[in-house]
């Protein structure tokens, strides 16, 4: 039973690691877009993390760098896409990045070596906000008639589903790591499932023909 559990978990984990491949291959139409490069970056970091899976001192800094890189990619994408409040979005993204760099700078050794799940959760909240603003733009512009054909709609779906799904996991990651690590081990495949879903929706976004 335990073996079966491990096998399913491994299957989910490996699917999650290679999920960006779906977007990279199927998204060749938007080959040089920001999100396509994000998918490549995601794949590289996921492979790196899986290589150093048991070496926490290497794996955790890589994960920390990835969540920052991911935030930069997504913020750049949304600042570019959202026509209104560009200045406000730039300011929010700037403050958040600056805040993280300062907190890392204050205690480099500890902050880099531990997975910064609180910051990752904060980023997820911002992704939800970005996605809601994206949806608001779609419905206020009245330009998109068929949503399923809108690339931007699928990007928003991708981020709102992913960020909402993993928000609580990241928020309680530190607590359960300190008190009951088994809960996180048991529930971490959920993050992998949402990661796969994220790349599937991103693939829809890449495949969508703009109206």
């Amino acid at each position: 039973m335990n073996l079966k559990f491990t096998t399913i978990n491994d299957l989910i984990r490996y699917t999650s690691i290679f999920a960006p491949m779906i977007s990279i291959i199927w998204g060749t139409k938007k080959q040089y877009s920001l999100l396509w490069f994000y998918a490549i970056t995601g794949l590289l970091f996921d492979v790196l993390i899986s290589i150093f899976l048991i070496h926490d001192p290497i794996k955790k800094p890589i994960a920390n760098i990835f969540i920052l890189v991911e935030f930069v990619f997504i913020s750049a994408f949304y600042i570019n896409q959202l026509k209104n409040n560009k200045k406000l979005l730039r300011t929010i993204a700037g403050i958040v990045i600056l805040f993280e760099l300062i907190t890392i700078g204050l205690d480099v050794e500890n902050n880099l070596l531990k997975f910064n799940s609180i910051t990752a959760a904060l980023y997820c909240l911002i992704y939800v906000l970005y996605a809601i603003l994206g949806f608001y733009q779609i419905i206020s512009e009245h330009r998109t008639v068929f949503l399923e054909r809108s690339s931007f709609f699928w990007v928003n779906v991708s981020w709102i589903i992913y960020a909402s799904g993993v928000l609580f996991l990241l928020l309680y990651d530190k607590y359960f790591n300190d008190h009951n690590k088994l809960v996180i081990v048991k529930l971490w495949p959920i993050q992998c499932i949402f990661n796969v879903l994220k790349y599937v929706f991103l693939t829809f976004a890449f495949r969508a023909k703009e109206e």
Partner: protein
């Protein structure tokens, strides 16, 4: 227990996210439905306008046909009868004179029909003088007082614009006489570099903009629908309103590009 709380949190957030997506999709569908509805209404309106245009064209053809058949045809038939009555009478001067009179009458009737179809004054003298002539004809009838006030001289513009403006003016004045029970009509013409404007004011019971828009959607109202068609064809705007002194006014504004302008009004 702890993992269940975490799972509840995840599921709740996921439901919220799905709720947002569901709302967006539903809202967008409503917008599409609304747009389709508007499109159908517009298409229906377009169809009504086309039908009105066809109806009016057919009515005009019928009128010309009946005038040609009943009036000109009858006069020419009489002339023919005179000329063929008696081969010997051909040289009778009275018969020739009567035939001549009938032929002159026919020519005059044909000229009248032709004038109604395309006013000769419009082509030769331009919009302002044609309007003036039309207004004077109505004023001379004595049934209603119609005055023309030219603020600026109207420039000569493309023939299709002049004809449309002339026809719209004819229809508007005819409508006022028919439906508004007015006793005084004032027509003010004005021109700037970019547009020509005509202001029709009367002391009868006229239309407001809302009433006008309601009328053009109603069945019938062929005259108004023709006005709408003509206004559209020259990219003009037509505004109906009630003035402060309780008189009703209709303002027709026609944009004039340099391409359509043929000369200044003073030429």
């Amino acid at each position: 227990m702890e993992s269940e709380i975490l799972l509840i949190g995840i599921v709740s957030m996921l439901f919220l996210a799905l709720g947002v997506i569901f709302f967006v999709v539903l809202y967008q569908r409503r917008v599409i439905a609304h747009q389709l509805e508007l499109k159908t209404i517009n298409q229906q309106k377009e169809l009504e306008l086309i039908q009105a245009s066809i109806q009016s064209e057919e009515a005009e053809r019928m009128r010309i046909a009946s005038e040609l058949h009943d009036d000109v045809g009858a006069t020419l038939a009489s002339a023919r009868l005179f000329l063929y009555k008696d081969k010997n009478a051909v040289f009778d001067e009275s018969v020739i004179n009567q035939s001549k009179e009938l032929l002159d009458e026919s020519i005059s009737k044909i000229r009248n029909i032709s004038h109604k179809l395309q006013p000769a004054t419009l082509q030769h003298l331009g919009l302002e003088l044609s309007l003036q002539s039309f207004i004077e004809t109505i004023d001379r009838s004595g049934k209603i007082s119609v005055k023309h006030t030219p603020v600026n001289h109207l420039p000569r513009v493309a023939a299709n614009i002049e004809l449309s403006v002339y026809r719209i003016s004819q229809e508007l004045i005819t409508n006022i006489i028919k439906h508004a029970t007015a006793t005084i009509i004032s027509v003010e013409t004005n021109a700037t570099n970019n547009h020509i404007s005509l202001l029709f004011t009367h002391n009868g019971l006229g239309l407001t903009q809302i009433e006008y828009e309601e009328q053009i959607y109603k069945k019938g109202s062929t005259g108004l629908k023709n006005i709408v068609n003509r206004v559209k064809s020259i990219d003009a705007t037509l505004q109906f309103y009630k003035s402060e002194d309780s008189s009703f006014a209709t303002e027709l504004i026609i944009p004039i590009s340099s391409k359509n302008k043929l000369s200044n009004g003073n030429d």
